[in-house]
């Protein structure tokens, strides 16, 4: 690890900070959302699923572009925020967090949704008959039984945020220690024909992703809950 410059380190630290923040927010947000999607029979369910899933198929630049339009001082959300004296989300760490949350949402909701869908209705009914109300059932039955899905979701959400490029490029810009994450740093090295530095960062990212996924699929899956159905 000879060629890691202070700039590179700053990008790495920023990336980890961004991915951790986003993952934490996503887990808190997605767990109830996934449970609602599993439970509800409302007509509202299909549109919500469609909206949540959209980042899967849309090019990140499209998302980034609309965020840019929406949040710019003349965009409707941007102007509302401005009148409320909230600092602009564009080209800021907070802005990156908000957009990354939306961008990575489907990758976190999906595994949690699948895990929760696998919980037999009978198990929940048993809990109800012994006196557990809906909130109680969520914490005492649903959460523990979907733990493997939640852990997988956290890992996927983290990796996905680390790998994000298009959205960041569009709304984050290139401010060191603020918005200059690893993928941007690599892009900059390549632009400057600094292939050696790009190799070091890219190679470590490949290795990191491989190790995380290896651990997820080979160890965690089995050890977390041997009796999980499916």
């Amino acid at each position: 690890m000879l060629n890691i410059s202070p700039d590179d380190w700053a990008a790495i630290v920023l990336t980890i900070k961004l991915a951790s923040t986003v993952t934490a927010i996503l887990i808190v947000l997605s767990t109830p959302l996934a449970w609602w999607l599993v439970q509800t029979q409302s007509w509202f369910k299909a549109p919500v699923i469609a909206v949540v899933a959209m980042p899967v198929i849309l090019p990140p630049t499209v998302l980034g572009f609309y965020f840019l339009v929406l949040l710019s001082p003349t965009g409707w959300l941007g102007s509302v925020l401005m009148t409320l004296n909230v600092p602009s989300l564009l080209f800021s760490f907070t802005g990156l967090v908000v957009t990354s949350v939306i961008y990575s949402l489907p990758f976190v909701v999906q595994p949690i949704y699948l895990a929760m869908k696998g919980i037999p209705q009978a198990t929940l009914e048993v809990a109800a008959t012994v006196g557990a109300g809906p909130v109680d059932r969520f914490f005492s039955i649903v959460l523990p039984l979907s733990r493997p899905g939640i852990i997988a979701a956290a890992v996927l959400g983290f990796i996905h945020t680390v790998g994000e490029f298009g959205v960041v490029l569009m709304i984050g810009g290139n401010i060191p220690q603020q918005t200059k994450v690893l993928s941007i740093q690599i892009y900059d090295h390549v632009e400057a024909l600094n292939y050696g530095a790009a190799h070091v960062l890219s190679g470590s990212l490949v290795l990191f992703s491989f190790v995380v996924l290896l651990v997820l699929y080979s160890v965690l899956w089995r050890r977390i809950n041997p009796s999980t159905v499916e």
Binding site: T123, V126, G131, A132, G133, P134, I141, P144, L145, S227
Partner: protein, 381 residues
Amino acid sequence: MNTCVKAGLSVSLRWPRKNFDIDLELTLPAGVNVLFGPSGSGKTTILRYLAGLDRDANYVGQVRVNDICWFKAVKGYKKYQLACHKRSIGYVFQTPSLLPHLTVKQNLAYAIRRSAESQPLVALEPLIALLKLAPLLHHMPHQLSGGEAQRVSLARAFIVKPKLLLLDEPLSALDALHKQELLDFMVSLFATLNIPVVYVTHSLEEVARLAQTLTILDRGKVKHSGQAQGVLSNLAVAATLGRNACVYVEATIREYDNPWCLIKVALGDAELYFPRSVLPPRLAQHNTLLSHSNNPPVRLKINASDVSLALQPPQQSSIQNCIQGIIDRVWLDELDAHCLVSVDVGGQIIIVRITRKSFSELALACGTSVFVLIKSVVITG
């Protein structure tokens, strides 16, 4: 029935459905009330309705337990519904269903912590001993056999001290040996309770051992309902049971052992002899020295196919168990080789299934005095 508060359940439900409508009204006392009927007659639907597990906008009816309203819906009016988790019930499902991520002990604790009348797990020791759960307490549900898991489910249903106990074919997933064992447990457990128990089954053996009242359902409607003994001795009911028709009668065991290895049973004035093997395990271990007067009454289950009729007491026959009675009612069906005859023996009814040919050749009729020959019985406790 609204005038005095005593343990009991009153339920009514009118519910139009795709294949058949549920339309019934029942008042059931404390004790074991069996719902009996073919698959798909609406038994489980009623249990789930009582538990509040299904919510359907088209329900019309009410549920009152110990005269407290749990559910009420009148057509076109706002309804009152107590959520399932607020109803004080114990529910044993058809297939054992424990919370898969908790040990047996934690499963029991889960229920206790949420029950209205909380009590320490220690108070459960008699129950744990009775259901032989001690060695299983630290097992996970997936390590248990079906019978073990169902024992835990039973314990869980009992420890919350429910106001209403609902059992949906609790023995159907078990093999014969565990069935017997669990049935014995239930007989002794139910004896200690003073709450209404609704027990769904289609096993006549379970009816004979447990039922206090018996309700026969068919396609969502009540066909017959009343004291179990009375319902079973109704010939219309027996006719639908065909070769499985049976009754049970009260009797007393007089001797547990004699030189012939038989037990002596008094049924009214008659004395009958049966091999010890007809005794349930609980009584088989009974001390033979018990004084006669202390012997508790037992139930004899008599299958209609295991008895026959004679006009004279048999003189030279291997069948020696014989009891005199008077023909009370007859059920004849021109399209059936057999007919059913109910015989009044000292106030109790025995149903006899004989061929129509014998019925005609013996010139039997209501009021004829006959001898009932009993080939075998089952003593059910």
